[in-house]
Symmetry: C2
Subunit: 318 residues, 2 copies
Protein backbone atom coordinates (compact mmCIF):
# COMPACT_ATOMS: atom_id res chain seq x y z
CA UNK A 1 0.00 0.00 0.00
CA UNK A 2 2.85 2.36 0.83
CA UNK A 3 4.24 1.97 -2.65
CA UNK A 4 0.90 2.81 -4.23
CA UNK A 5 0.52 5.93 -2.10
CA UNK A 6 3.91 7.19 -3.14
CA UNK A 7 2.66 7.34 -6.73
CA UNK A 8 -0.08 9.86 -5.98
CA UNK A 9 -1.01 12.23 -3.26
CA UNK A 10 -4.61 13.35 -3.74
CA UNK A 11 -7.72 12.40 -5.63
CA UNK A 12 -9.69 15.42 -6.88
CA UNK A 13 -13.22 14.81 -8.13
CA UNK A 14 -15.72 16.98 -9.97
CA UNK A 15 -18.96 15.08 -9.33
CA UNK A 16 -22.03 16.47 -11.02
CA UNK A 17 -25.60 15.46 -11.78
CA UNK A 18 -24.86 13.40 -14.87
CA UNK A 19 -21.10 12.94 -14.97
CA UNK A 20 -18.16 12.45 -12.66
CA UNK A 21 -14.49 13.10 -13.37
CA UNK A 22 -11.70 12.04 -11.01
CA UNK A 23 -8.04 12.91 -11.21
CA UNK A 24 -5.13 11.50 -9.28
CA UNK A 25 -2.54 14.23 -8.75
CA UNK A 26 0.92 14.30 -7.27
CA UNK A 27 2.43 16.88 -4.96
CA UNK A 28 3.16 19.25 -7.83
CA UNK A 29 -0.43 19.11 -9.03
CA UNK A 30 0.52 16.96 -12.02
CA UNK A 31 -2.27 14.65 -13.15
CA UNK A 32 -1.05 11.06 -12.88
CA UNK A 33 -4.29 9.35 -13.81
CA UNK A 34 -7.79 10.31 -14.81
CA UNK A 35 -11.12 8.50 -14.75
CA UNK A 36 -14.59 9.47 -15.88
CA UNK A 37 -18.00 7.85 -15.85
CA UNK A 38 -21.72 8.53 -16.16
CA UNK A 39 -22.22 7.83 -12.45
CA UNK A 40 -23.59 11.30 -11.85
CA UNK A 41 -25.66 11.63 -8.70
CA UNK A 42 -28.90 11.49 -10.69
CA UNK A 43 -28.41 7.75 -11.16
CA UNK A 44 -27.08 6.91 -7.71
CA UNK A 45 -29.46 5.91 -4.93
CA UNK A 46 -28.59 6.39 -1.27
CA UNK A 47 -25.65 4.13 -0.42
CA UNK A 48 -24.46 3.87 -4.01
CA UNK A 49 -21.96 6.73 -3.88
CA UNK A 50 -19.15 4.95 -2.10
CA UNK A 51 -19.25 1.93 -4.44
CA UNK A 52 -19.28 4.35 -7.39
CA UNK A 53 -16.27 6.10 -5.89
CA UNK A 54 -14.43 2.79 -5.58
CA UNK A 55 -15.22 1.85 -9.19
CA UNK A 56 -14.05 5.25 -10.37
CA UNK A 57 -10.73 5.05 -8.51
CA UNK A 58 -10.08 1.30 -8.83
CA UNK A 59 -6.37 0.59 -8.94
CA UNK A 60 -5.45 4.00 -7.63
CA UNK A 61 -3.67 4.47 -4.29
CA UNK A 62 -5.88 4.91 -1.22
CA UNK A 63 -5.06 8.60 -0.77
CA UNK A 64 -7.53 11.22 0.51
CA UNK A 65 -10.19 12.39 -1.90
CA UNK A 66 -11.68 15.87 -2.16
CA UNK A 67 -14.77 16.42 -4.28
CA UNK A 68 -17.08 19.20 -5.38
CA UNK A 69 -20.40 19.47 -7.19
CA UNK A 70 -23.78 17.84 -6.67
CA UNK A 71 -22.10 15.06 -4.65
CA UNK A 72 -22.49 17.50 -1.74
CA UNK A 73 -26.22 18.01 -2.26
CA UNK A 74 -28.95 16.39 -0.21
CA UNK A 75 -29.10 13.66 -2.85
CA UNK A 76 -25.31 13.18 -2.80
CA UNK A 77 -22.92 11.11 -0.72
CA UNK A 78 -22.93 13.50 2.24
CA UNK A 79 -24.62 16.88 2.39
CA UNK A 80 -22.32 19.90 2.50
CA UNK A 81 -24.71 22.72 3.38
CA UNK A 82 -24.63 25.86 1.26
CA UNK A 83 -22.36 28.64 2.44
CA UNK A 84 -24.08 32.01 2.31
CA UNK A 85 -22.91 34.93 0.14
CA UNK A 86 -20.67 36.88 0.34
CA UNK A 87 -18.40 33.83 0.42
CA UNK A 88 -14.63 34.10 0.67
CA UNK A 89 -12.29 31.34 -0.45
CA UNK A 90 -11.17 30.88 3.14
CA UNK A 91 -14.73 30.53 4.41
CA UNK A 92 -15.39 27.92 1.72
CA UNK A 93 -12.40 25.93 2.98
CA UNK A 94 -13.68 26.14 6.56
CA UNK A 95 -17.08 24.86 5.47
CA UNK A 96 -15.70 21.78 3.70
CA UNK A 97 -17.31 18.64 5.14
CA UNK A 98 -14.87 15.90 6.15
CA UNK A 99 -15.58 12.31 7.02
CA UNK A 100 -14.13 8.85 6.63
CA UNK A 101 -15.21 6.34 4.00
CA UNK A 102 -16.10 2.81 5.12
CA UNK A 103 -12.44 1.85 4.82
CA UNK A 104 -11.35 4.89 6.83
CA UNK A 105 -10.12 6.85 3.82
CA UNK A 106 -10.44 10.63 4.39
CA UNK A 107 -13.09 12.24 2.21
CA UNK A 108 -13.75 15.97 1.87
CA UNK A 109 -16.76 17.57 0.14
CA UNK A 110 -16.86 21.24 -0.84
CA UNK A 111 -20.10 23.10 -0.04
CA UNK A 112 -22.12 25.01 -2.58
CA UNK A 113 -22.89 28.71 -2.20
CA UNK A 114 -26.30 30.25 -1.57
CA UNK A 115 -27.45 33.78 -2.25
CA UNK A 116 -30.34 35.47 -0.50
CA UNK A 117 -31.79 38.27 -2.56
CA UNK A 118 -34.81 40.48 -1.87
CA UNK A 119 -35.40 41.03 -5.59
CA UNK A 120 -35.54 37.33 -6.55
CA UNK A 121 -35.45 35.40 -3.24
CA UNK A 122 -32.13 33.78 -3.96
CA UNK A 123 -29.92 31.59 -6.04
CA UNK A 124 -27.59 28.63 -5.62
CA UNK A 125 -24.41 27.22 -7.14
CA UNK A 126 -22.73 23.92 -6.45
CA UNK A 127 -19.50 23.03 -8.18
CA UNK A 128 -18.91 26.41 -9.80
CA UNK A 129 -17.62 27.82 -6.47
CA UNK A 130 -14.66 25.44 -6.75
CA UNK A 131 -13.85 26.67 -10.27
CA UNK A 132 -14.00 30.21 -8.86
CA UNK A 133 -11.50 29.19 -6.17
CA UNK A 134 -9.29 27.94 -9.00
CA UNK A 135 -9.71 31.22 -10.87
CA UNK A 136 -8.80 33.25 -7.78
CA UNK A 137 -5.89 30.90 -7.09
CA UNK A 138 -4.42 31.94 -10.43
CA UNK A 139 -5.58 35.57 -10.37
CA UNK A 140 -5.84 36.64 -6.71
CA UNK A 141 -6.63 40.24 -7.65
CA UNK A 142 -9.40 39.45 -10.13
CA UNK A 143 -12.27 41.90 -9.79
CA UNK A 144 -15.10 41.26 -12.19
CA UNK A 145 -17.53 38.63 -13.39
CA UNK A 146 -16.98 34.97 -14.22
CA UNK A 147 -19.40 33.87 -16.93
CA UNK A 148 -19.88 30.12 -16.65
CA UNK A 149 -21.90 28.73 -19.58
CA UNK A 150 -23.77 25.48 -19.22
CA UNK A 151 -27.15 23.84 -18.88
CA UNK A 152 -27.65 26.38 -16.11
CA UNK A 153 -25.21 29.21 -16.76
CA UNK A 154 -23.85 31.24 -13.86
CA UNK A 155 -22.71 34.85 -13.78
CA UNK A 156 -20.58 35.21 -10.66
CA UNK A 157 -19.38 38.58 -9.34
CA UNK A 158 -15.99 38.32 -7.66
CA UNK A 159 -13.80 40.87 -5.86
CA UNK A 160 -10.90 40.37 -3.43
CA UNK A 161 -11.26 36.60 -3.58
CA UNK A 162 -14.87 36.82 -2.43
CA UNK A 163 -17.97 35.67 -4.31
CA UNK A 164 -20.20 38.72 -3.93
CA UNK A 165 -23.30 37.45 -5.62
CA UNK A 166 -24.33 35.52 -8.68
CA UNK A 167 -27.11 34.82 -11.16
CA UNK A 168 -28.26 31.58 -12.75
CA UNK A 169 -29.74 31.61 -16.26
CA UNK A 170 -31.11 28.34 -17.67
CA UNK A 171 -29.38 28.89 -21.01
CA UNK A 172 -28.54 25.37 -22.14
CA UNK A 173 -31.81 23.96 -20.90
CA UNK A 174 -33.83 26.70 -22.61
CA UNK A 175 -32.02 26.03 -25.88
CA UNK A 176 -32.80 22.33 -25.62
CA UNK A 177 -36.45 22.90 -24.68
CA UNK A 178 -37.08 25.38 -27.49
CA UNK A 179 -35.11 23.55 -30.19
CA UNK A 180 -36.42 20.07 -29.46
CA UNK A 181 -39.56 20.18 -27.34
CA UNK A 182 -41.44 23.32 -28.36
CA UNK A 183 -43.46 24.33 -31.41
CA UNK A 184 -40.28 26.06 -32.64
CA UNK A 185 -38.70 22.65 -33.30
CA UNK A 186 -40.41 22.69 -36.70
CA UNK A 187 -38.52 25.87 -37.58
CA UNK A 188 -34.93 24.95 -36.64
CA UNK A 189 -32.39 22.24 -37.52
CA UNK A 190 -32.41 19.41 -35.00
CA UNK A 191 -28.66 19.05 -35.02
CA UNK A 192 -26.35 22.03 -35.16
CA UNK A 193 -22.65 22.36 -35.92
CA UNK A 194 -20.78 25.55 -35.08
CA UNK A 195 -23.74 27.84 -34.52
CA UNK A 196 -21.65 31.00 -34.37
CA UNK A 197 -20.57 30.42 -37.98
CA UNK A 198 -24.00 31.55 -39.19
CA UNK A 199 -24.43 35.32 -39.44
CA UNK A 200 -27.86 34.85 -37.87
CA UNK A 201 -26.24 34.14 -34.51
CA UNK A 202 -24.76 37.64 -34.44
CA UNK A 203 -28.01 39.08 -35.84
CA UNK A 204 -29.93 37.70 -32.86
CA UNK A 205 -27.34 39.07 -30.42
CA UNK A 206 -27.53 42.52 -32.04
CA UNK A 207 -31.32 42.49 -31.78
CA UNK A 208 -31.46 41.47 -28.13
CA UNK A 209 -28.42 43.38 -26.85
CA UNK A 210 -28.00 46.26 -29.30
CA UNK A 211 -31.59 47.01 -30.23
CA UNK A 212 -33.13 45.96 -26.94
CA UNK A 213 -35.65 43.49 -28.35
CA UNK A 214 -37.04 41.73 -25.26
CA UNK A 215 -36.44 38.00 -25.17
CA UNK A 216 -40.13 37.12 -24.84
CA UNK A 217 -40.89 39.40 -27.80
CA UNK A 218 -38.11 37.93 -29.89
CA UNK A 219 -38.79 34.25 -29.34
CA UNK A 220 -41.67 33.73 -31.79
CA UNK A 221 -39.64 35.39 -34.55
CA UNK A 222 -37.91 32.00 -34.87
CA UNK A 223 -41.20 30.69 -36.24
CA UNK A 224 -41.97 33.78 -38.31
CA UNK A 225 -38.54 33.69 -39.95
CA UNK A 226 -39.08 30.11 -41.12
CA UNK A 227 -42.59 30.87 -42.35
CA UNK A 228 -42.21 34.34 -43.87
CA UNK A 229 -38.52 34.83 -44.58
CA UNK A 230 -37.86 31.15 -45.39
CA UNK A 231 -34.69 31.18 -43.31
CA UNK A 232 -32.82 27.86 -43.45
CA UNK A 233 -33.18 25.57 -40.42
CA UNK A 234 -29.42 25.66 -39.72
CA UNK A 235 -29.37 29.45 -39.67
CA UNK A 236 -32.50 29.56 -37.57
CA UNK A 237 -31.00 27.27 -34.92
CA UNK A 238 -28.05 29.68 -34.74
CA UNK A 239 -30.53 32.54 -34.45
CA UNK A 240 -32.34 30.80 -31.57
CA UNK A 241 -29.02 30.28 -29.79
CA UNK A 242 -28.13 33.95 -30.31
CA UNK A 243 -31.50 35.06 -28.92
CA UNK A 244 -31.02 33.15 -25.68
CA UNK A 245 -27.38 34.12 -25.09
CA UNK A 246 -28.04 37.68 -26.28
CA UNK A 247 -31.09 37.86 -24.02
CA UNK A 248 -28.92 36.72 -21.14
CA UNK A 249 -26.30 39.39 -21.86
CA UNK A 250 -29.00 42.06 -22.11
CA UNK A 251 -30.39 40.90 -18.77
CA UNK A 252 -26.92 41.12 -17.20
CA UNK A 253 -26.66 44.69 -18.46
CA UNK A 254 -30.15 45.61 -17.28
CA UNK A 255 -29.44 44.36 -13.77
CA UNK A 256 -26.08 46.13 -13.58
CA UNK A 257 -23.97 42.99 -13.43
CA UNK A 258 -22.37 43.83 -16.75
CA UNK A 259 -21.35 47.49 -16.72
CA UNK A 260 -18.81 49.48 -18.72
CA UNK A 261 -15.34 48.45 -17.59
CA UNK A 262 -16.36 45.15 -15.99
CA UNK A 263 -13.64 42.51 -16.36
CA UNK A 264 -14.91 39.19 -17.65
CA UNK A 265 -13.68 35.60 -17.70
CA UNK A 266 -15.58 32.89 -19.51
CA UNK A 267 -15.09 29.56 -17.79
CA UNK A 268 -15.75 26.52 -19.97
CA UNK A 269 -13.85 25.59 -23.11
CA UNK A 270 -16.62 23.74 -24.88
CA UNK A 271 -18.58 25.10 -27.82
CA UNK A 272 -20.95 26.99 -25.53
CA UNK A 273 -17.99 28.88 -24.08
CA UNK A 274 -16.92 29.94 -27.56
CA UNK A 275 -20.47 30.97 -28.37
CA UNK A 276 -20.51 33.24 -25.31
CA UNK A 277 -17.17 34.78 -26.31
CA UNK A 278 -18.58 35.47 -29.78
CA UNK A 279 -21.85 36.91 -28.43
CA UNK A 280 -20.01 39.11 -25.92
CA UNK A 281 -17.74 40.31 -28.74
CA UNK A 282 -20.77 41.29 -30.83
CA UNK A 283 -22.03 43.18 -27.78
CA UNK A 284 -18.66 44.92 -27.47
CA UNK A 285 -17.02 42.90 -24.70
CA UNK A 286 -13.74 41.05 -24.74
CA UNK A 287 -13.60 37.99 -22.53
CA UNK A 288 -10.92 35.30 -22.43
CA UNK A 289 -12.14 31.71 -22.25
CA UNK A 290 -10.60 29.63 -19.46
CA UNK A 291 -10.69 25.83 -19.17
CA UNK A 292 -13.28 24.84 -16.57
CA UNK A 293 -11.78 21.42 -15.89
CA UNK A 294 -8.40 22.95 -15.18
CA UNK A 295 -9.91 25.51 -12.83
CA UNK A 296 -11.93 22.86 -10.99
CA UNK A 297 -8.73 20.90 -10.40
CA UNK A 298 -6.85 24.00 -9.27
CA UNK A 299 -9.71 24.87 -6.92
CA UNK A 300 -9.84 21.40 -5.38
CA UNK A 301 -6.08 21.40 -4.79
CA UNK A 302 -6.25 24.93 -3.33
CA UNK A 303 -8.98 23.90 -0.90
CA UNK A 304 -7.20 20.65 0.02
CA UNK A 305 -4.12 22.67 0.93
CA UNK A 306 -6.18 25.18 2.86
CA UNK A 307 -7.75 22.51 5.06
CA UNK A 308 -4.47 20.66 5.51
CA UNK A 309 -6.04 17.65 3.83
CA UNK A 310 -2.88 16.43 2.13
CA UNK A 311 -0.86 13.37 2.98
CA UNK A 312 2.76 14.02 4.04
CA UNK A 313 4.20 13.14 0.63
CA UNK A 314 2.04 15.82 -0.98
CA UNK A 315 2.88 18.48 1.57
CA UNK A 316 6.60 17.91 1.34
CA UNK A 317 6.59 18.10 -2.43
CA UNK A 318 4.58 21.28 -2.60
CA UNK B 1 -84.25 19.99 -47.80
CA UNK B 2 -86.03 23.31 -48.14
CA UNK B 3 -87.63 22.89 -44.71
CA UNK B 4 -84.24 22.21 -43.16
CA UNK B 5 -82.69 25.25 -44.76
CA UNK B 6 -85.38 27.49 -43.43
CA UNK B 7 -84.25 26.56 -39.91
CA UNK B 8 -80.75 27.97 -40.33
CA UNK B 9 -78.94 30.28 -42.62
CA UNK B 10 -75.19 29.97 -42.07
CA UNK B 11 -72.65 27.65 -40.55
CA UNK B 12 -69.81 29.49 -38.80
CA UNK B 13 -66.73 27.47 -37.84
CA UNK B 14 -63.70 28.22 -35.71
CA UNK B 15 -61.30 25.49 -36.82
CA UNK B 16 -57.98 25.36 -35.05
CA UNK B 17 -55.02 23.04 -34.62
CA UNK B 18 -56.51 20.80 -31.97
CA UNK B 19 -60.20 21.65 -31.83
CA UNK B 20 -63.07 22.68 -34.07
CA UNK B 21 -66.30 24.40 -33.10
CA UNK B 22 -69.20 24.86 -35.50
CA UNK B 23 -72.34 26.88 -34.97
CA UNK B 24 -75.51 26.98 -37.03
CA UNK B 25 -76.95 30.50 -36.90
CA UNK B 26 -80.14 32.05 -38.19
CA UNK B 27 -80.58 35.40 -39.86
CA UNK B 28 -80.53 37.26 -36.56
CA UNK B 29 -77.23 35.63 -35.55
CA UNK B 30 -78.98 33.40 -33.04
CA UNK B 31 -77.23 30.09 -32.50
CA UNK B 32 -79.59 27.26 -33.43
CA UNK B 33 -77.19 24.40 -32.98
CA UNK B 34 -73.60 23.85 -31.98
CA UNK B 35 -71.11 21.07 -32.50
CA UNK B 36 -67.54 20.51 -31.35
CA UNK B 37 -64.90 17.88 -31.84
CA UNK B 38 -61.20 17.17 -31.55
CA UNK B 39 -60.86 17.09 -35.34
CA UNK B 40 -58.34 19.92 -35.31
CA UNK B 41 -56.20 20.13 -38.41
CA UNK B 42 -53.27 18.49 -36.61
CA UNK B 43 -55.03 15.12 -36.86
CA UNK B 44 -56.46 15.50 -40.34
CA UNK B 45 -54.49 14.30 -43.37
CA UNK B 46 -55.02 15.78 -46.82
CA UNK B 47 -58.52 14.93 -48.00
CA UNK B 48 -59.85 14.35 -44.48
CA UNK B 49 -61.20 17.87 -43.94
CA UNK B 50 -64.39 17.57 -45.91
CA UNK B 51 -65.42 14.29 -44.23
CA UNK B 52 -64.65 15.91 -40.88
CA UNK B 53 -66.83 18.87 -41.87
CA UNK B 54 -69.70 16.51 -42.77
CA UNK B 55 -69.39 14.66 -39.45
CA UNK B 56 -69.34 17.95 -37.58
CA UNK B 57 -72.48 19.28 -39.29
CA UNK B 58 -74.37 16.00 -39.67
CA UNK B 59 -78.13 16.60 -39.57
CA UNK B 60 -77.77 20.32 -40.14
CA UNK B 61 -79.18 22.03 -43.25
CA UNK B 62 -76.84 22.28 -46.24
CA UNK B 63 -76.32 26.03 -45.94
CA UNK B 64 -73.06 27.86 -46.77
CA UNK B 65 -70.22 27.53 -44.29
CA UNK B 66 -67.62 30.13 -43.40
CA UNK B 67 -64.60 29.17 -41.35
CA UNK B 68 -61.49 30.71 -39.82
CA UNK B 69 -58.36 29.44 -38.13
CA UNK B 70 -55.74 26.87 -39.08
CA UNK B 71 -58.20 25.31 -41.54
CA UNK B 72 -56.91 27.99 -43.94
CA UNK B 73 -53.24 27.08 -43.47
CA UNK B 74 -51.17 25.05 -45.91
CA UNK B 75 -52.07 21.97 -43.86
CA UNK B 76 -55.77 22.85 -43.86
CA UNK B 77 -58.68 22.20 -46.21
CA UNK B 78 -57.77 24.96 -48.64
CA UNK B 79 -55.00 27.51 -48.17
CA UNK B 80 -56.10 31.11 -47.60
CA UNK B 81 -52.84 33.02 -48.00
CA UNK B 82 -51.90 35.52 -45.32
CA UNK B 83 -53.02 39.10 -45.83
CA UNK B 84 -50.27 41.57 -45.10
CA UNK B 85 -50.44 44.23 -42.36
CA UNK B 86 -51.84 46.83 -42.07
CA UNK B 87 -55.01 44.83 -42.66
CA UNK B 88 -58.45 46.42 -42.73
CA UNK B 89 -61.64 44.48 -42.07
CA UNK B 90 -62.73 45.16 -45.65
CA UNK B 91 -59.47 43.85 -47.09
CA UNK B 92 -59.84 40.70 -44.99
CA UNK B 93 -63.30 40.15 -46.49
CA UNK B 94 -61.93 40.60 -50.01
CA UNK B 95 -59.21 38.03 -49.34
CA UNK B 96 -61.63 35.35 -48.15
CA UNK B 97 -61.16 32.19 -50.24
CA UNK B 98 -64.37 30.73 -51.69
CA UNK B 99 -64.92 27.35 -53.26
CA UNK B 100 -67.49 24.62 -53.51
CA UNK B 101 -67.44 21.43 -51.46
CA UNK B 102 -67.79 18.09 -53.29
CA UNK B 103 -71.58 18.40 -53.04
CA UNK B 104 -71.49 21.97 -54.35
CA UNK B 105 -72.02 23.59 -50.97
CA UNK B 106 -70.42 27.08 -50.81
CA UNK B 107 -67.43 27.20 -48.46
CA UNK B 108 -65.52 30.32 -47.43
CA UNK B 109 -62.20 30.41 -45.53
CA UNK B 110 -60.87 33.56 -43.85
CA UNK B 111 -57.16 34.30 -44.40
CA UNK B 112 -54.65 34.86 -41.61
CA UNK B 113 -52.66 38.07 -41.30
CA UNK B 114 -48.92 38.44 -41.74
CA UNK B 115 -46.65 41.16 -40.43
CA UNK B 116 -43.29 42.05 -41.91
CA UNK B 117 -41.01 43.72 -39.38
CA UNK B 118 -37.40 44.84 -39.74
CA UNK B 119 -36.78 44.42 -36.03
CA UNK B 120 -37.95 40.80 -35.81
CA UNK B 121 -38.57 39.68 -39.41
CA UNK B 122 -42.27 39.21 -38.92
CA UNK B 123 -45.18 37.53 -37.23
CA UNK B 124 -48.38 35.69 -38.14
CA UNK B 125 -51.89 35.20 -36.80
CA UNK B 126 -54.59 32.87 -38.06
CA UNK B 127 -57.99 32.81 -36.41
CA UNK B 128 -57.43 35.81 -34.14
CA UNK B 129 -58.05 38.19 -37.07
CA UNK B 130 -61.65 36.98 -37.15
CA UNK B 131 -62.10 37.70 -33.44
CA UNK B 132 -60.69 41.17 -34.12
CA UNK B 133 -63.31 41.63 -36.86
CA UNK B 134 -65.90 40.67 -34.25
CA UNK B 135 -64.43 43.18 -31.79
CA UNK B 136 -64.48 45.96 -34.38
CA UNK B 137 -68.01 44.96 -35.41
CA UNK B 138 -69.14 45.76 -31.87
CA UNK B 139 -66.78 48.70 -31.27
CA UNK B 140 -66.07 50.30 -34.66
CA UNK B 141 -64.11 53.15 -33.06
CA UNK B 142 -61.88 50.99 -30.89
CA UNK B 143 -58.33 52.31 -30.85
CA UNK B 144 -55.95 50.26 -28.74
CA UNK B 145 -54.63 46.79 -28.17
CA UNK B 146 -56.44 43.46 -28.05
CA UNK B 147 -54.63 41.07 -25.72
CA UNK B 148 -55.47 37.52 -26.76
CA UNK B 149 -54.13 34.97 -24.25
CA UNK B 150 -53.49 31.41 -25.30
CA UNK B 151 -50.87 28.82 -26.09
CA UNK B 152 -49.44 31.53 -28.32
CA UNK B 153 -50.78 34.83 -27.02
CA UNK B 154 -51.26 37.73 -29.42
CA UNK B 155 -51.08 41.45 -28.73
CA UNK B 156 -52.85 43.14 -31.63
CA UNK B 157 -52.78 46.90 -32.21
CA UNK B 158 -55.99 48.18 -33.78
CA UNK B 159 -57.12 51.61 -34.97
CA UNK B 160 -59.91 52.62 -37.33
CA UNK B 161 -60.90 49.02 -37.95
CA UNK B 162 -57.39 48.21 -39.16
CA UNK B 163 -54.94 45.71 -37.66
CA UNK B 164 -51.79 47.81 -37.51
CA UNK B 165 -49.35 45.26 -36.23
CA UNK B 166 -49.16 42.52 -33.66
CA UNK B 167 -46.88 40.44 -31.48
CA UNK B 168 -46.97 36.76 -30.60
CA UNK B 169 -45.69 35.58 -27.22
CA UNK B 170 -45.57 31.84 -26.54
CA UNK B 171 -47.13 32.26 -23.08
CA UNK B 172 -49.15 29.09 -22.65
CA UNK B 173 -46.53 26.92 -24.27
CA UNK B 174 -43.76 28.41 -22.11
CA UNK B 175 -45.80 27.77 -18.98
CA UNK B 176 -46.32 24.15 -19.99
CA UNK B 177 -42.66 23.62 -20.94
CA UNK B 178 -41.33 25.12 -17.71
CA UNK B 179 -43.90 23.59 -15.36
CA UNK B 180 -43.84 20.10 -16.82
CA UNK B 181 -40.77 19.54 -18.98
CA UNK B 182 -37.96 21.57 -17.43
CA UNK B 183 -35.84 21.20 -14.31
CA UNK B 184 -38.28 23.63 -12.66
CA UNK B 185 -40.95 20.90 -12.64
CA UNK B 186 -39.45 19.68 -9.35
CA UNK B 187 -40.18 23.06 -7.79
CA UNK B 188 -43.82 23.64 -8.78
CA UNK B 189 -47.16 21.86 -8.36
CA UNK B 190 -48.02 19.76 -11.40
CA UNK B 191 -51.67 20.71 -11.32
CA UNK B 192 -52.85 24.20 -10.51
CA UNK B 193 -56.21 25.61 -9.55
CA UNK B 194 -56.85 29.35 -9.68
CA UNK B 195 -53.26 30.55 -9.86
CA UNK B 196 -54.14 34.19 -9.31
CA UNK B 197 -55.49 33.30 -5.84
CA UNK B 198 -51.91 32.94 -4.56
CA UNK B 199 -50.22 36.21 -3.57
CA UNK B 200 -47.10 34.91 -5.33
CA UNK B 201 -48.76 35.49 -8.72
CA UNK B 202 -48.94 39.23 -8.03
CA UNK B 203 -45.45 39.15 -6.48
CA UNK B 204 -44.01 37.83 -9.74
CA UNK B 205 -45.89 40.45 -11.77
CA UNK B 206 -44.57 43.23 -9.51
CA UNK B 207 -41.03 41.97 -9.90
CA UNK B 208 -41.11 41.70 -13.68
CA UNK B 209 -43.27 44.76 -14.44
CA UNK B 210 -42.78 47.05 -11.46
CA UNK B 211 -39.17 46.34 -10.53
CA UNK B 212 -37.96 45.51 -14.03
CA UNK B 213 -36.50 42.09 -13.22
CA UNK B 214 -35.69 40.61 -16.65
CA UNK B 215 -37.53 37.39 -17.45
CA UNK B 216 -34.35 35.40 -18.08
CA UNK B 217 -32.96 36.64 -14.76
CA UNK B 218 -36.15 35.83 -12.90
CA UNK B 219 -36.75 32.32 -14.20
CA UNK B 220 -34.32 30.38 -12.00
CA UNK B 221 -35.75 32.04 -8.92
CA UNK B 222 -38.55 29.46 -9.20
CA UNK B 223 -35.97 26.85 -8.22
CA UNK B 224 -34.25 29.02 -5.62
CA UNK B 225 -37.57 29.78 -3.92
CA UNK B 226 -38.33 26.08 -3.50
CA UNK B 227 -34.82 25.33 -2.26
CA UNK B 228 -34.05 28.33 -0.08
CA UNK B 229 -37.37 29.89 0.87
CA UNK B 230 -39.28 26.59 0.94
CA UNK B 231 -42.16 28.11 -0.99
CA UNK B 232 -45.06 25.69 -1.43
CA UNK B 233 -45.38 24.05 -4.89
CA UNK B 234 -48.86 25.57 -5.43
CA UNK B 235 -47.61 29.08 -4.70
CA UNK B 236 -44.55 28.53 -6.85
CA UNK B 237 -46.66 27.46 -9.84
CA UNK B 238 -48.60 30.71 -9.44
CA UNK B 239 -45.28 32.56 -9.24
CA UNK B 240 -44.07 30.92 -12.47
CA UNK B 241 -47.30 31.93 -14.20
CA UNK B 242 -46.89 35.49 -12.93
CA UNK B 243 -43.30 35.64 -14.18
CA UNK B 244 -44.30 34.69 -17.72
CA UNK B 245 -47.34 36.95 -17.97
CA UNK B 246 -45.55 39.75 -16.14
CA UNK B 247 -42.55 39.33 -18.41
CA UNK B 248 -44.87 39.60 -21.38
CA UNK B 249 -46.45 42.80 -20.05
CA UNK B 250 -43.00 44.27 -19.37
CA UNK B 251 -41.96 43.39 -22.93
CA UNK B 252 -45.10 45.09 -24.29
CA UNK B 253 -44.16 48.21 -22.34
CA UNK B 254 -40.52 48.09 -23.43
CA UNK B 255 -41.50 47.88 -27.10
CA UNK B 256 -44.04 50.71 -26.82
CA UNK B 257 -47.09 48.55 -27.51
CA UNK B 258 -48.42 49.23 -24.03
CA UNK B 259 -48.12 52.95 -23.31
CA UNK B 260 -49.89 55.25 -20.85
CA UNK B 261 -53.45 55.71 -22.05
CA UNK B 262 -53.56 52.65 -24.29
CA UNK B 263 -57.04 51.09 -24.36
CA UNK B 264 -57.03 47.35 -23.78
CA UNK B 265 -59.42 44.47 -24.40
CA UNK B 266 -58.63 40.96 -23.24
CA UNK B 267 -60.20 38.40 -25.56
CA UNK B 268 -60.68 34.97 -24.03
CA UNK B 269 -62.91 34.13 -21.10
CA UNK B 270 -61.03 31.14 -19.83
CA UNK B 271 -58.79 31.13 -16.76
CA UNK B 272 -55.84 32.49 -18.73
CA UNK B 273 -57.91 35.54 -19.65
CA UNK B 274 -58.69 36.20 -16.00
CA UNK B 275 -55.02 35.76 -15.12
CA UNK B 276 -54.11 38.44 -17.67
CA UNK B 277 -56.73 40.81 -16.27
CA UNK B 278 -55.30 40.27 -12.81
CA UNK B 279 -51.70 40.74 -13.95
CA UNK B 280 -52.58 43.88 -15.89
CA UNK B 281 -54.40 45.22 -12.82
CA UNK B 282 -51.28 44.66 -10.68
CA UNK B 283 -49.36 46.56 -13.34
CA UNK B 284 -51.90 49.38 -13.19
CA UNK B 285 -54.04 48.66 -16.25
CA UNK B 286 -57.75 48.06 -16.44
CA UNK B 287 -58.85 45.73 -19.20
CA UNK B 288 -62.29 44.21 -19.73
CA UNK B 289 -62.37 40.51 -20.65
CA UNK B 290 -64.43 39.70 -23.74
CA UNK B 291 -65.65 36.24 -24.76
CA UNK B 292 -63.47 34.97 -27.59
CA UNK B 293 -66.03 32.46 -28.89
CA UNK B 294 -68.65 35.17 -29.14
CA UNK B 295 -66.28 37.48 -31.00
CA UNK B 296 -65.26 34.72 -33.40
CA UNK B 297 -68.92 34.14 -34.25
CA UNK B 298 -69.56 37.87 -34.66
CA UNK B 299 -66.50 38.13 -36.90
CA UNK B 300 -67.53 35.20 -39.09
CA UNK B 301 -71.04 36.64 -39.53
CA UNK B 302 -69.61 40.09 -40.27
CA UNK B 303 -67.32 38.68 -42.96
CA UNK B 304 -70.11 36.50 -44.42
CA UNK B 305 -72.26 39.61 -44.80
CA UNK B 306 -69.37 41.58 -46.27
CA UNK B 307 -68.79 39.01 -49.01
CA UNK B 308 -72.48 38.56 -49.69
CA UNK B 309 -72.13 34.94 -48.67
CA UNK B 310 -75.57 34.60 -47.09
CA UNK B 311 -78.51 32.68 -48.43
CA UNK B 312 -81.65 34.75 -49.17
CA UNK B 313 -83.40 33.77 -45.91
CA UNK B 314 -80.48 35.14 -43.94
CA UNK B 315 -80.23 38.37 -45.85
CA UNK B 316 -83.93 39.15 -45.56
CA UNK B 317 -83.93 38.53 -41.83
CA UNK B 318 -80.91 40.70 -41.11
Amino acid sequence: MAEEVSGGALIAIDWGTSHVRARLVDGAGTVLAESRSDDGIARLAAGAHEPAFRRLTAGWPAVPAIMAGMIGSRQGWREAAYLECPAATGALAEAVVRFGAADGRPIAIVPGVMLRSPSRDGDVIRGEETQIVGLVDGEPDFDGVAVMPGTHSKWVSIAGGVIGDFQTVMTGELFDLFAHKSFLRHSVAQDGGDLTASPDFALAVRRTVGEGLPFLTALFSVRARALIAEVKPDDNLAYLSGLIIGGEIAAAQATGRLAPGTSLRIIGARSLGRAYAEALAVAGWQAPVLDGDQLALAGLIHLARAIDFLPPAFRSAS
